[in-house]
Amino acid sequence: MALDKNGIAKRIAQELQDGWYVNLGIGIPTLVANYIPEGIEVEFQSENGVLGMGPFPFDGEEDPDLINAGKQTITTRDGASFFDSATSFAMIRGQHVQLTVLGAMEVSQNGDIANWKIPGKMVKGMGGAMDLVASAENIIVAMMHSNKAGESKILKACTLPLTGVGCVKKVVTELAVMEIKEGKFYLLERAPGVSVDEIIAKTEGDLVVPDIVPEMNLN
């Protein structure tokens, strides 16, 4: 069965490693913070200027001066720090952040990503996404395999204006975990109960399928 958003987040959380600084984008990526594996410690950075984000505040304890890049009220953990936006992107551009997780409208088999604009229709702006994808060594995209019209978003080439070129290394969708290398998608894992045929059918880009595709282990 296809994963829900929390399932995608849970699977991505398995990629976390002890001691990493991690930047989580808006949407599904934000949920990753709820599933940090036991025994490891990570710190969350938000590009508006905070390191060491904690959970959402208790009702009534929101501080309007303390938000994340999604403009959500947050809290901080012991050891947190605040800094200006230039310093924040110094961390990102200077590759001090070990993992970036973000959403996408389209991903292509050479690692291009589009997630900021639909010409003539939707223009929200790129925010920090272009800096993040251009700089991060380790980018995981959290997204749905298809759009609402049922068209694949895992493509040979992106059709929307790009956010970054050749930067995505791994994609986790409601159906599959895929690695991007040498200009192709490599199917690594499938969601529990999802068939390889369904993944093949819903993937427009070139997909390399090994003989055995293990199911994700989400326990």
Binding site: V50, D59, K71, F82, D84, S85, V123, K124, M126, A129
Partner: protein
């Protein structure tokens, strides 16, 4: 070197039609609310505003958009403002969308006398069109230029009479770089104290970057996305 002015009207004196303004804040967090209200009252038009966001429809810089006071916005993200999107898609409003890190660094560069720098952000995208590309460490980078403004308007938590500023939490955001990049920088603060009160080790924006400072009368501090967990 007393830089205190009594009210927003005196602080913003000299801002006229067609000027370029930097306005600090991220969303509705850390924005100079009292100065924005004053800009609305002054009715200055044809402004170019450099600000990471454009506020929401009825608060923050959204108020200037509503009044059609803005000719051009230079921002990284405008997703929370329908009027902005409408004016942009209809062509009423010129918009220059810039990667957030490049925006922050371009403001800092403007304040720091660095006319241009290379960054990897935006390579291979619309943002890179017409810009010089150069390889460093095997990776393509684009040349970005400094941003400055006729006036920078920032919001701080505490300030002293010499213009030294301290920000609170993530309300810091773009304010420090914009304070550096304004030909004239105006700071509105929640608390205004005599010089010598703030610890010199703990100043975020040294007073040299600030020309005028005033205590804001009222800070509404709207929250854009109130997210909470229930108390057990």
């Amino acid at each position: 070197m007393n830089k205190v002015v009594k009210n927003p009207a005196l602080a913003l004196a000299g801002i006229t039609d067609g000027m370029t303004l930097m306005v600090g804040g991220f969303g509705l967090c850390g924005i100079p609310e009292n100065s924005i209200a004053q800009l609305v009252q002054m009715g200055v038009k044809n402004l170019t505003c450099i600000s990471n966001n454009a506020g929401v429809d009825d608060f923050g810089l959204g108020l200037l958009l509503q009044g059609k006071q803005v000719k051009k916005m230079i921002s990284s993200y405008v997703g929370e403002n329908d009027e902005f999107e409408r004016q942009m898609l209809s062509g009423e409003l010129e918009v220059d969308l810039i990667p957030q890190g490049s925006l922050a660094e371009r403001c800092r560069a403007g304040g720091a006398g660095i006319p241009a720098f290379f960054t990897p952000a935006g390579y291979g995208t619309e943002v890179a069109e017409g810009k010089e590309v150069r390889m460093f460490n095997g990776k393509p980078h684009i040349l970005e230029s400094a941003l400055t403004a006729d006036y920078a308007i920032v919001k701080a938590w505490k300030g002293d009479t010499e213009g030294n500023l301290i920000y609170k939490a993530t309300a810091r955001n773009f304010n420090p770089m914009m304070a550096m990049a304004g030909k004239i920088t105006i700071a509105e603060v929640e608390e205004l104290v005599p010089a010598g009160t703030l610890d010199p080790n703990q100043i975020h924006t040294p007073g040299i970057f600030v020309q005028r400072i005033f205590k804001g009368e009222k800070f509404e501090k709207r929250i854009e996305q109130r997210t909470v967990r229930p108390k057990n």
